[in-house]
Subunit: 434 residues, 2 copies
Amino acid sequence: MKKVKIALLGLGNVGCGVWKILNSNKEEIQKRSGYEIEVAKILVRETKKDRGVIVPEEILTTDFNEILNDKDIKIVIEVMGGIEPAREYMLKAMDKKKHIVTANKMLLATGGDEIFEKADSMGVMFHYEASVAGGIPIINGINESLTANKVEQLYGIVNGTTNYILSKMETEGLSFKAALDEATEKGYAEADPISDIEGFDAQYKLAILSSLAFGTKIDVENVYREGITNIKSIDMDYAKEFKMVIKLLAIVKDVNGKLELRVHPTMIPKNHPLANVYDSFNAIFIKGNAVGDLMFYGRGAGDLPTGSAVVSDLISILRSNIDLENINPVVKNNLWDKKIRDIRSVESKYYIRTTVEDKPGVLGEITTILGDCGISLRSVIQRGVESPQHDKVTLVLVTHYTKEAKVIEAIDEIYELKTVKKIDNIIRIEDFKN
Amino acid sequence: MKKVKIALLGLGNVGCGVWKILNSNKEEIQKRSGYEIEVAKILVRETKKDRGVIVPEEILTTDFNEILNDKDIKIVIEVMGGIEPAREYMLKAMDKKKHIVTANKMLLATGGDEIFEKADSMGVMFHYEASVAGGIPIINGINESLTANKVEQLYGIVNGTTNYILSKMETEGLSFKAALDEATEKGYAEADPISDIEGFDAQYKLAILSSLAFGTKIDVENVYREGITNIKSIDMDYAKEFKMVIKLLAIVKDVNGKLELRVHPTMIPKNHPLANVYDSFNAIFIKGNAVGDLMFYGRGAGDLPTGSAVVSDLISILRSNIDLENINPVVKNNLWDKKIRDIRSVESKYYIRTTVEDKPGVLGEITTILGDCGISLRSVIQRGVESPQHDKVTLVLVTHYTKEAKVIEAIDEIYELKTVKKIDNIIRIEDFKN
Ligand SMILES: NC(=O)c1ccc[n+]([C@@H]2O[C@H](COP(=O)([O-])OP(=O)(O)OC[C@H]3O[C@@H](n4cnc5c(N)ncnc54)[C@H](OP(=O)(O)O)[C@@H]3O)[C@@H](O)[C@H]2O)c1
Ligand SMILES: NC(=O)c1ccc[n+]([C@@H]2O[C@H](COP(=O)([O-])OP(=O)(O)OC[C@H]3O[C@@H](n4cnc5c(N)ncnc54)[C@H](OP(=O)(O)O)[C@@H]3O)[C@@H](O)[C@H]2O)c1
């Protein structure tokens, strides 16, 4: 049996998952890769910490140079996260002809080009399946299995924390706050949950997926983003009434050659496969012009699922000839130049929840404004609100397909009305027909 | 741009799909593969037939030797189906160092070894993503993306025709016959639907998937098989009452190192992701010891979805170096020897529908037999039956987990009872907990 030495950068959540899998599935990995794998070094900040896994102390190091300068280490697995020093370490490792596996979505989404180009110029392999949707093989799926397609649309539930929160709000009627607390307690949400609940994490992932699906460079700034902090139980109730559910979707559509990129809470029909993705599960739904509708579903995070993707990447590298002088990785994110559509050009249906005075004529004023803006309504629901004076009502409007720019214009005008107390929420509705 | 010549064997459903994709997605395929692809020859039985696609007449041929002896044809795409002459043609083409893409599940499931060995010994690439579940990249998924896992269980809805029929029975209350007629009308079911409705097609596919997932040779004869022809509307009704649905599942489980392989109608909980796979869609649900629960969902048949898999395979071959003298394909179906568990050893819950005389004591007699066989009941439902004399009732029994051998024994005894008119149906229940 051939032998190979590898190194890990990081032994946190994912690093420990990788370590566990390399041990528990040793025989499978050997047979499938053809190699006996030795983890020669692991970079950490603190060698004395209890990590819940038994790792020989002598392989832990705080000095990256021990890895960099060890010629026998052929593959480096970066699972430390963050931009620096992860970026620097990967670039240096590639300069020394080491192949790379990474799970670092943030780095890929913000500075991926430099990394890809380095891999290309050094002729080393660079794999990153774990960077999006943990154990779900969506990167490989797009890069290897959908190559015959023009991808038309991609819709992802790519953040487990927010899906967990929305699931709890939907199925158990919890408030956003209570659901977030539960997610934190269960270890799904991090101490600082902003990146999840404000949609930044999903934004990174959508940038990576879109770049691959459309073979083009995507600047993460071009992904429109809204989080889920404004979703209330009452929105869940209305959604249910419309036979819909609310999910944080990462959406990219090719509309006449321009890409529309957005992350936001979305109402989707209850009978759509994505609507039945609950708890912390992730799923990515793709429409290709040949394959039609396709969905990948699974665990988007966690030590073992993410480790599964990392170790499978490692096996892919071992199955290729790691000693070949020049591998030619096909760079797939610079095949086309695609223009980006502004969010104002998006066409969608909209759910608009407002609080208005309980007076005759209010609805008339609002519908006149909508009509003047060229927006037609699909339904209107008016209900009493718990207020001391019983003088306010909730008015929910659902539009037909319309341009976002028109909605923005109309909302500005509606908000000017003296009878309108509040625009409580606006949620885009996706029926997967456009 | 590099150029490559390929040939198709067959220009039926799938062949036409491949042809259409090669034309409509020409630019994508060129950029992603790095090649301009020329279809130099297409083998058919009848060159004059109208096929709904425009193909230059001079590339159609009825003589396989024109393809075999053309040195410039580097890749052969076999989409003719059947065992012979598909088998012979593929073997001969590999002897001439041509790479192969095939969609032929029947051949792979029954005579795959010989083909794989030939590919291995000739050092040519051999891809067959389309052979299972059409456009869903499940072969690649298992072969490339789950390699870090011990697969524990796999459950597939891998036959679109039967899923369409069962969906119609469930959601529209159609009889089996009416649903089958509709499937035939829509072109989902073939003129001779036996292979689909009796589960042979699913049996082939399960043999292929299991062989890959467990790295072992699977004889298709070792896959237990039951079709859906015995499912009645009343079974659908009971399933609904139990918050379940009935699906034709292809199941493989590793039980203490032995494989349990079976295709049969199965009651599954309505809230399981597989339960929401409707119409002619396919899905494969996998439990891996690292990745956890994973599901792939999409179109299992049709010209374009199947063509998507075939053309993606073609692109994979082109991305590798097709001129390398010796590719080393990793043969993955002979890594382990696995024993097969007999169906009688399966542990499951069972739904048993019987027709019995409407007399006191009947239920007692039956439960006594079940008790004597060590089977405990979870629920019993008794209902009147439309019969002239109103002297019969339907008795539905649902068991807890029990060994199939015990159920067979009990049923034999129950059927001996004079008060028992008929054992109408026995359906295994899968709760995904065992
Ligand atoms: N967690 C998931 O489920 C998941 C899923 C998909 C992708 N990812 C990605 O995987 C990566 C790792 O995530 P994680 O959750 O495993 O992170 P984590 O638990 O915070 O672990 C980070 C590890 O890296 C080490 N490290 C960090 N900075 C270092 C430095 N400057 N020098 C040396 N060692 C350093 C830490 O060492 P110490 O332990 O000594 O502090 C720790 O072992 C991230 O890119 C993340 O986005 C995570
Ligand atoms: N249909 C699907 O959705 C689907 C999905 C997955 C996998 N598959 C697999 O794909 C393969 C093809 O299926 P299909 O539905 O495309 O079959 P099909 O429509 O029956 O087409 C078969 C083609 O092969 C040609 N052919 C058959 N025997 C031949 C012979 N002896 N010599 C020369 N040409 C011959 C036929 O020529 P003529 O046209 O001249 O008769 C026809 O063009 C099968 O292995 C099937 O299991 C199909």
